[in-house]
Symmetry: C2
Subunit: 742 residues, 2 copies
Amino acid sequence: MATQEFTIVGTSAERVDGVDKVTGRAKFTGDLAVPGMLNGKFLRSPYAHARILSIDTSEAEKIPGVVTVLTSADLTGLNPYLKGKDHPILAIDRALYAGQPVAAVAAMDEMTAQEALGKIKVEYEELPAVITCQDALADGAPEVHPFAPKNICFKDHLEKGDVEKGFAEADEIVEDTFEFPMIYHYSMEPHTAIASVDENGVTVWTSTAHPFGVRQDVAEVFNCPLSQVRIILSFVGGAYGSKSGGKIEPLVAALARKSGKPVRVTQDVSEAMMTVRRHSVTCKVKLGAKRDGTLVAREASIYLNTGAFAENGPSVTTRTLIRILGPYRVPNLRIDSYCVYTNTVSGASFRSIGGPQTAWANESQLDMLAQKLRMDPVELRRKNLLNRGEELRPKGKPLDANLFEGFDKVLKKIGWTGPVTEKGGGRGIAFGVTDPGAPLASTATVHLLSDGSVVLLFGTAEIGQGSRTIMSQIVAEVLSVPLDRITVRPPDTAFTPFDRSTGSSRSTTVMGKALQLAAEDARRQILDLAAGHFEAPLEAITLKDGIAEAGGKKVSYGDLIRRHFAMQGGEIIGLGYAHSGMATKPSNPLFWEVGIGAVELEVDRETGEIKLGKYIMAADVGKALHPLNCEGQDEGAAMMGIGHSLYESIIYENGQIVNPNLVDYRVPRFNDLPAEYDSILVENADGPGPFGAKGMGEGGIIPVAPAIGNALAWSTGVRVKELPLTPERVWQALKAKMDPNR
Amino acid sequence: MATQEFTIVGTSAERVDGVDKVTGRAKFTGDLAVPGMLNGKFLRSPYAHARILSIDTSEAEKIPGVVTVLTSADLTGLNPYLKGKDHPILAIDRALYAGQPVAAVAAMDEMTAQEALGKIKVEYEELPAVITCQDALADGAPEVHPFAPKNICFKDHLEKGDVEKGFAEADEIVEDTFEFPMIYHYSMEPHTAIASVDENGVTVWTSTAHPFGVRQDVAEVFNCPLSQVRIILSFVGGAYGSKSGGKIEPLVAALARKSGKPVRVTQDVSEAMMTVRRHSVTCKVKLGAKRDGTLVAREASIYLNTGAFAENGPSVTTRTLIRILGPYRVPNLRIDSYCVYTNTVSGASFRSIGGPQTAWANESQLDMLAQKLRMDPVELRRKNLLNRGEELRPKGKPLDANLFEGFDKVLKKIGWTGPVTEKGGGRGIAFGVTDPGAPLASTATVHLLSDGSVVLLFGTAEIGQGSRTIMSQIVAEVLSVPLDRITVRPPDTAFTPFDRSTGSSRSTTVMGKALQLAAEDARRQILDLAAGHFEAPLEAITLKDGIAEAGGKKVSYGDLIRRHFAMQGGEIIGLGYAHSGMATKPSNPLFWEVGIGAVELEVDRETGEIKLGKYIMAADVGKALHPLNCEGQDEGAAMMGIGHSLYESIIYENGQIVNPNLVDYRVPRFNDLPAEYDSILVENADGPGPFGAKGMGEGGIIPVAPAIGNALAWSTGVRVKELPLTPERVWQALKAKMDPNR
């Protein structure tokens, strides 16, 4: 790659939304008020599965200040199902999980709405429920949906080579079952939406990562053209997949429709937990190797608990087929993955869908194999790790990264001498290499105004990831304008060009590309104006800091625009479709996302507590457009990984979530971080994004759990196959090892 | 011209905003509420000219509910002058006209704000004032501004040929002075604005015809980039020039800045009258002709009373140089025009700036010449009327219309047999041919969404003229989509591409062109997708009703977009700059706007009342994109002309407007309309706009007054040279004629 000189890209510029956020003046959806707005609340099913025999709203409606009580009887004229047939916006006839909205109230204030919920009389007939995949797949289990026999929502399959033959040739075979729990995203901001419906359409102010996905969902529910649905975003206080596509918005809009007034619904954490979560997964994995460590066959059966509704469970299911593979050369494969309905809240998108769950199985199992082979786990990985250009996914895009580079850097940084430290602690390492999806449909416009200020319109939600800063950097670099001259407009689907979504590590790569193309389009137009102004050839013109120069003469972009438009103001618009610049075959994945993690830990044998000493991670980012932001993404992702590795799990008892709050659902705190917590960026400018960038931010979460589980196993000899590795669970395992008869 | 087949353009489609307006659900700025909004009021100078010695706000500030009292002392950090040096947003040191804002209050409600105005103690030293041009130009007159000696704000001059020689060759010379009064626009909606100011910029919701002009003005006052000022429009209840550029918005924004909260100011009619008005004009005109009626020389001195501030007075002044000419061949010309400061509310834009005032002089004088020459006024006009291609303005664009066609049609329709009817009534005819300006800077985007719905972003304000419908028709025609699939977004400068302004007959021609180009750009992209889809050459593809077809196979635009973007949604954006498609040399005017009016009337000799029997008008529209709308524009313009011809005048007494309300300021009512009131559209598809359209809507106001004045003169023998032709004024003239010694 030719070396390119940058002035703005590659620097850790001050965040363009930084001052607004640290001063608290940044507006989130919950900070908004819409004139005449009511406050809404949802009544939720207390049963995991129940027939709704009747709903009597009359007492609730009598309460002064109550404007609307909405039940499924009020959905006339709407299509009440989200994305397909299984997910009504409000329970119809049956409630399918504890927490499903059954009715909704809009009132003058939240207290009154809350009071009204208590006055709605719902007569239920409780039905038998299935909570786990095991429950759901058992013979004779009750069926969640009549159209899904045996509760199979979806299944998918991947095969390569001849697995039987592969295992027959293996010298060692390991076979195990790993459990990954349900996890809640725990965004700082739970789901919040304000909706307003009138004759001209639906407007929703919402905290979402997918403004255009919400538009699509609301348009489908309301049977109206996309142009009549307007989704307006403020800042979003975290998403991590919990805000991918329509969540509470269609129901809030239905409530607003009946109310004839705007309605706001602000969920608390327990309600957000009853909205979406990560898929819990059971992985049955089998791996065969030659004595020298060469992998020869892998078989896996993966069961995803997708909850009551499909959401994107089928996509997650398909994704696990690849994600269980890891970046290793295995000639014979057979993977089956099952998406299973249960009477629980729906599984949905979550940072690296299906990634941590499957890596927990395959990267743990790799170390179990190493133990059997008496090999260093680093050696085993090195032996099987794919080289750049090798096939990872059958018939898919070849690996587009040098995995050894990051691997070596991580090992060096953590001081790898083997899986056991001098003090008897453990070391673990794992990979997270995935196909991030990164769908291509992004569109953006760059507007150069007549005073030289620049406005960017693009649909990426600023969910905390710093996209406003990075996109501004890309445009500032291409257009040669100072960064502070750029203003980013938050997405408003009435005006903002289409973007597929914010997530799946796509924004910098795909939307960034759209913005790069849009800025190049605007740059070409400015160059044309400058050429005309100076009566000089294009090659004679240089652009710098918002000034065009030729032959020692200078003119500002603003002056060029004003002159072009006869001093009447004016504006240059650059347009970019990511799609046009990036179409590749095979297009999936656009790039391979690479995360690597290594841990050093000690285990308190008295309490079972795992104490992390070092955690070193690496991400292959192609080109770090904003290095500090990249590090923040990677360290944040690993922090989330530490959460599900050591602390987090949504616990169901008798069909109910029993820990829906910060006290009972433990997330990592800053003092849970290892003393040494470092991230390494691998940069070879080999990504398809702007300036060689590739997506990141998901890779970092994947290797954490197996790295920790492996270090635990190497240092203590106990292999725990179920997350999280709580002190109690570890202590039990240690105890069981000491007293195997217990 | 080749005949073009249209399916949507040229039909009088239902107005896209029609149902919203007739049901009353259309939102105007006054219907909006912004959360936390205060209500503001302006304290106005009671003196036409006074020094402000002190302002004591302490009592006003003590009133409970008063949040802010703003005086010029609070403008620190702002640039308090609008567009140049003469117009502060709030009086500084001196008040220059009665009604000028001197202080402003923001309070919890309007009543409290009103109460607070009464508690602000302003100590004034009254100064001598000048109200008329005559006052202002008198020797030793007080000067309104220290920088404008003799109160001359601006002057301009036009010369051609040799006027002295021309008059020397003339057989007849007429020389007269005509007076045109101050007129108020009387939009149904007075000026209303809501402003909000925070660290990230200024947002203003306002009733304006120039969203981008207001943006410019606010950015200048606030010393900030254009990108930090956001102007949001709803429907606008009429403008007619009264809402061209920043009016109350900068002051409301300054009030919001000090308040730290949004502030709304809703003016009543008397306040709107103290904001802007049409220039009153004195025209001294001299015209020479040969005995056969051939015009040989014209001289004119034009004095425009521009009030206390320049506003666009200089532009109006320059425009009168051309507008005094009329569409007649006069080889020798000398025109001087003076823009004069006085201590009155500022003159500003008003439907056909400088047009009715100058036509009142030149078209009246033409009939006076005809009377002297004993010629039929139609004959005199026909003799001197320019042919297509002849020069109208020296060195300007040649006449691009056939004036005889409309002239003949009007004469035929009114049944012209001469200027006196069989019953002794009068007939009058006049032309209004002007250079409408129509500046070229318009930009638009057309967004084709993945369900085939279409969104238009353009900056034209819907001020009642029907622009949303016409622009939708243009795009529907070009893109071949049904009209009801199109949604127009109201202008919001945060997102909407730049547009110079709504006015000067430019929107259909210039913005329409931008939209036509944008739609063509989108159409090309759809054709490309269709060619790829069908694997067919572009020529094989036809587009109709949102469907692409080739070889008998069909696909919807939405499906094409979804497939192109890999079924992930998507959007096609078409971009149009009017400028690129239309640049002409000489570029001013882009086209000549043609209006023709003829009247038949009777005069009640007892009361002096003029009773209009017929009014026939013609407009050369090039191509009527929406015929009913064109007729509505022309008839509305003529109705306004009837207003200033017979009823309207802002009356100043002792420096004060004494008739600032609908009772004392008489506007025409429906039963003031002539029994026969017809408009004729001349269509030769010879305009520079879409499909050959050219601007209209201003031409119709120009000929009304001279046509009526001429008919009055022919039927009664009295020539009244001052408008309006009220019964009292006519009666006095009739009386004076009968008793010349009176």
